[in-house]
Symmetry: C2
Subunit: 339 residues, 2 copies
């Protein structure tokens, strides 16, 4: 197996850094769009044949150094009994958002092996298709980010309703965060058992919180999850916008931290304490630049982060309208990197 | 005149820090809603009687230490000949966004004294109503933030189209940024001539850019504006999400920098070089906390930022649904502050 990714997670020296892209399985790929035309979002997630096929598509086309299972962070609230719809041109929609202590009390911590059995099956099928070529990453949302959707009921620029719920009902918020955490730990453990080689936690909306509120409503739950998982598989924590918490995140037991593009390599190394493996961080919109410019930016990134303890990635998910040749330029620039 | 605000901008010692709130003129106030029920958004901006009345309403009710003229950053593209609508429950909508070099070439740098005469009249009427009680702040959007709306055509979570335009048409982007800059300099100079005591630049979407892209597409234009204005009135630069640029922003000649709530006081002081006056930074959603908690948070903020070279504010605009008693708690906690 191509072990660049796992070596980088262990902090071992590599000939070049590994590369993959957040949201690499999906939307910008013609072979994905062909599947999307025939099956709706959650059918794609819940059908192991489809999820595994979508997962390996980018590997076949571009040869990234790791695959990430096609799924969604909102399968967790779904498994907890909260209805989640995926509306075209709108995004996630939760028709019965959580707004009271009673709502939280009614939420169950499910048996993930029953409720999310389809994920485990998709992992097994993906591993067969990958046939040991590259490692497979499983993922989950950080509890704070999941709470954002559960309370707000949809995407938002500022998740004001989610924050207001936390600030006016802190006890209920913590109860909900703990239920999400317990579910997520069981879920990621089951994924590791099914065969994923690493797990990434996405705290997409952590950067909406002040450092003090992050320390109260997000960090402790990330810490619980990492500590429950770290001896079973290396964990990557990507907390978008959370430059202010990189130090604390580096001390959770995570093997690597993702950083977004507002955090320069030198700031990321400094703020994270200089030892932990970092992953990132090209602005996804920068993949619209001409291929030559993309190659230059990749080379600059690797020079600035260093080739070791570094995983090349975007600073957030790839955008749906990125030209394929620009993706090639990004991936190939890493593969052709020489010191 | 209550000179706490102007003294803080000069870096002079004060008995307590001054306080005002971004977007204090508007939406959460019942007396504003009464006006809003009868006049649409741009009528309110363009009618000096209404704009001046809305500007002084929060001062009468809460007694902030500075007033900020009711207006909108999008009056600049409007004056440049770009149609801007304000749609209820949607926000700004520009039906003919800028998408090509030709579009940029067709944009004019207007005579602000003609096109924005109503703003200057509103300033004069506001100064009469304020009768020397507190200073008046005028504002404008930073050119990057204005470009975001001109190209995207509406609000956005990531302003991908605006960024793509900059990354694929950098020359046209710089031409547009320069036209916006020239208009903004003339506009703010006219405002100072009309009587505002200070000007604030809002770079609301600066935090969407990487440090390298910020240094190319935003910072040079902010610098031009500050340098053109700084000897006429103290300038505050609020670049939301731009913790990574606080050092460079502190060297523009600005009298103060706004900071959002993700940047702790100690980080803000460190990153900005420790000398410049800072303004901020309570999370606007934290005004939903009970009044007692708000008072505690204000006292903590003042202790952490220090009473001098500090202007108490929120970390972004006040939310429309904040209870009035919570606003009172915020303002009064500052006024009652004793070392």
């Amino acid at each position: 197996m191509n072990d660049l990714f796992l070596k980088a997670l262990k902090g071992e020296s590599v000939s070049r850094p590994p590369v993959w892209m957040m949201r690499q399985a999906g939307r910008y790929l013609p072979e994905f769009m062909a599947i999307r035309d025939n099956y709706d979002f959650f059918t794609r997630c819940q059908t192991p044949e489809l999820a595994s096929e979508i997962t390996v598509q980018p590997i076949r086309r571009f040869g990234m150094d790791a695959a990430i299972l096609f799924s969604d962070i909102l399968v967790i609230p779904q498994a907890m009994g909260i209805e989640v719809q995926m509306k075209p041109d709108f995004g996630p929609y939760l028709p019965n958002p959580i707004r009271s202590t009673t709502d939280v009390e009614n939420i169950k911590v499910p048996d993930v092996n029953t409720e999310l059995d389809y994920v485990m099956k998709a992992i097994e099928m993906t591993l067969e298709k990958l046939d040991g070529e590259v490692p497979l990453i499983g993922f989950a949302g950080a509890p704070w980010t999941i709470l954002c959707y559960c309370v707000q009921g949809q995407g938002s620029k500022s998740f004001d309703q989610a924050k207001t719920f936390c600030f006016t009902h802190p006890k209920a918020a913590h109860m909900l965060l703990q239920k999400i955490t317990d579910t997520t730990i069981a879920y990621l453990k089951a994924k590791v058992k099914a065969g994923v080689h690493s797990a990434q936690l996405f705290d997409s909306w952590g950067g909406m919180l002040s450092p003090v509120d992050y320390a109260e409503f997000s960090l402790p739950y990330i810490r619980q999850i990492v500590q429950a998982l770290q001896h079973e598989a290396p964990v990557i924590v990507f907390a978008k916008g959370c430059w202010f918490a990189l130090k604390e995140l580096s001390q959770t037991g995570a093997s690597a931290l993702g950083v977004d593009w507002t955090c320069s390599a030198i700031n990321a190394r400094y703020l994270s304490g200089g030892q932990i493996t970092l992953q990132g961080n090209l602005d996804p919109a920068r993949l619209f630049s001409p291929p030559e410019k993309i190659r230059d930016m990749v080379n600059t990134m690797i020079r600035e982060f260093g080739k070791d303890r570094y995983i090349v990635n975007l600073g957030h998910g790839i955008l749906p309208t990125i030209p394929l040749e620009n993706v090639s330029a990004f991936i190939n620039a890493v593969k052709e990197y020489r010191e």
